[in-house]
Symmetry: C2
Subunit: 359 residues, 2 copies
């Protein structure tokens, strides 16, 4: 730590992303990434002539991408905010609407960014426990007067709320802000975006990092009321007016228009997910009802930490959280069919080995 770091940051605990070891070629199932390429249109959009013009700033108002996203979701471009990844979008939401005086809540088990940000910025936050089988209890969020951030589907559990349940939470207190983080919404779930037409206290955040296979390009967006988006843009123009690169704007605009390709990719992930879930259950794994591009699993014979370690030794990375309630679990991204065949094979061998040790 330097002499100069502000006092309030001296105890911060930064978010820790899934590891990216380089010591060997791993099957990487620890960050909910996609092994599929982005839409063919992205290859055309990131052209030689685009690179030739890189000496110029891209449009800081990001009009083209905002319009392209708006068109796909049936909302006006002035209700769309775009950022350098959904994390930046969430960061600008938090920065704009949550100050240290304010009261926030989110589940005890969820995407760790919320806690990290709130803690670092001394926002008063409450972590509301999920119920025993990791479901969000909607009544808790109807009852509280705190602002709310909910990942739907939730991460790392993969469980989801219905739009009607979320609408009850949003509708009950119009002066309380609700952020719904829909990073994984495309994997067979219904989005809350249509609710933003009706409720001025709702922000829906999505990302191009999952279903659009563009994690490396850093594109996220928020849809909300025109006034909320205006506020976020003002904050952005104060901190980093040119937050979106010409690469991201071009790739994003091309990708979002290719809804056919999105559906094809999602379909392929869902088909693999069904197959892997069945195979895991046959091996006696518990699999939380999946709603995303990952599975949240546990096994009676082996702890989450041990399973994570043994898979890593076999060249497979999954995510384990060393936290009280979910220590027994690992989160495993749905990779390609071929990758998942290898994973199932390795899991089979691991279970044999564990059983042999026990007997």
């Amino acid at each position: 730590m330097s002499y100069f770091l502000c006092d309030e940051f001296q105890k911060m605990e930064p978010y820790i992303p899934g590891e990216q070891p380089k010591d060997q070629a791993y099957i990487k199932l620890n960050a909910n990434e996609s092994s599929l390429p982005p839409s063919p249109r992205v290859f055309d959009a990131v052209s030689q002539s685009r690179i030739r013009g890189m000496g110029h700033y891209a449009d800081p108002h990001c009009k083209q991408l905002r319009k392209a996203i708006g068109d796909v979701y049936g909302v006006n471009a002035d209700r769309v905010f775009v950022g350098n990844g959904a994390d930046e979008v969430l960061g600008f939401c938090f920065m704009s609407f949550f100050s240290p005086r304010m009261k926030l809540c989110f589940p005890d088990i969820t995407y760790d960014f919320y806690r990290t940000y709130a803690k670092t910025n001394r926002i008063d936050f409450e972590q509301i426990p999920l119920d025993a089988d990791f479901h969000v209890n909607v009544e808790d969020y109807i009852a509280t007067d705190r602002d709310i951030v909910l990942a739907n589907p939730n991460n790392p559990t993969g469980l989801a709320l219905s739009v009607s349940d979320i609408e009850r939470v949003v509708a009950v207190r119009p002066k309380r802000l609700v952020i719904i983080d829909e990073a994984y919404i495309d994997y067979g779930n219904e989005s809350c975006i249509p609710l933003t037409e009706k409720y001025a206290n709702l922000i829906v955040v999505q990302t191009f990092s999952k279903s659009r296979n563009l994690a490396g390009a850093r594109i996220g967006f928020a849809i909300a009321s025109k006034e909320i988006i205006e506020d976020m843009n003002k904050i952005k123009f104060t901190f980093n007016p040119f937050n979106m690169s010409a690469f991201a704007l071009a790739a994003g605009s091309a990708a979002v228009q290719d809804t056919t390709y999105l559906e094809k990719c999602v379909h392929s992930v869902l088909a693999t997910r069904v197959r892997v879930q069945k195979a895991l259950e046959k091996m006696n794994f518990f699999v939380a009802e999946p709603h995303a591009n990952f599975l949240f699993v546990s096994h009676p014979y082996i702890s989450g930490g041990e399973l994570c370690k043994m898979l890593k030794e076999r060249g497979i990375l999954v995510r384990h959280y060393d936290e009280a309630r979910i220590r027994d679990y690992v989160r495993m991204t749905i990779g390609t069919g071929e990758e998942m065949d290898k994973v199932l094979q390795q899991l089979h061998e691991i279970l044999q080995e564990v059983k042999a040790c026990e007997s």
Copy 2:
């Protein structure tokens, strides 16, 4: 404004970037961009196979780019921070080291980001007046005990301080932080980067947006002590761990290694700058001693605002600041030789017109 915007932001005045009108094809000399393409190596780096792998996150530690920059400047990678444009780098500097309790200073005429950020975040800032001919008075900065941000060369004036003068400022108070923003350093000036070896209270910020012709790719960096860079990385991991896209990391790593191309581009800008300065002085323009890729000029017969407007009508964008001390001036980027020939021709005609009106 939404009901939800935090009180402290309700009066914010966001930074206003140079306009990007689309009503016609302009010669764009209002944002100090480059019309030259990036290094040929960038075209190779942003390859089809790179795009194919975009489904994966890029390295959040940005090791390759930090090492590539470190190698060029002779510092270890752990003393290099990289960000999504120099604005984000400055944002993380400010966020890490300047809290509302702290006292900051910078010139009254300089890059407006500093004032915008300080004002929005309620940092106590003092704007120290440049002297009558727009030079930084070094003694002012030696005398003050406030933290310091200086653009060197300064923007929009283009005037520069020597490294020895900056060293005096840095050395006099080792517990006072000094940020030197060297966005325009490559245009014939000496960098303070070597001083970061010796002084733990110095941060040097640079960008790939100017001399490396990559404004659209959003790449900036800071060089400082290992401890300062560690602090900034922690803050980054709290706000946006994956702040750098795979595009930016690849393009940046390729571009920074091509020092020959950098020199060639800089040489071409400097040659054009010399030629344009001479031509302008012949037309009776005052030209502040240029140290960057732009000229800061005024003319006895026409106000800055009027000149800016008349050039725009002729398809040429330059930057005018409607602020008391510099109202008479415009800032004009050095474009290609061909672009500048057109500009000189138009200026000639404008002056004829103005003279005709006056007589």
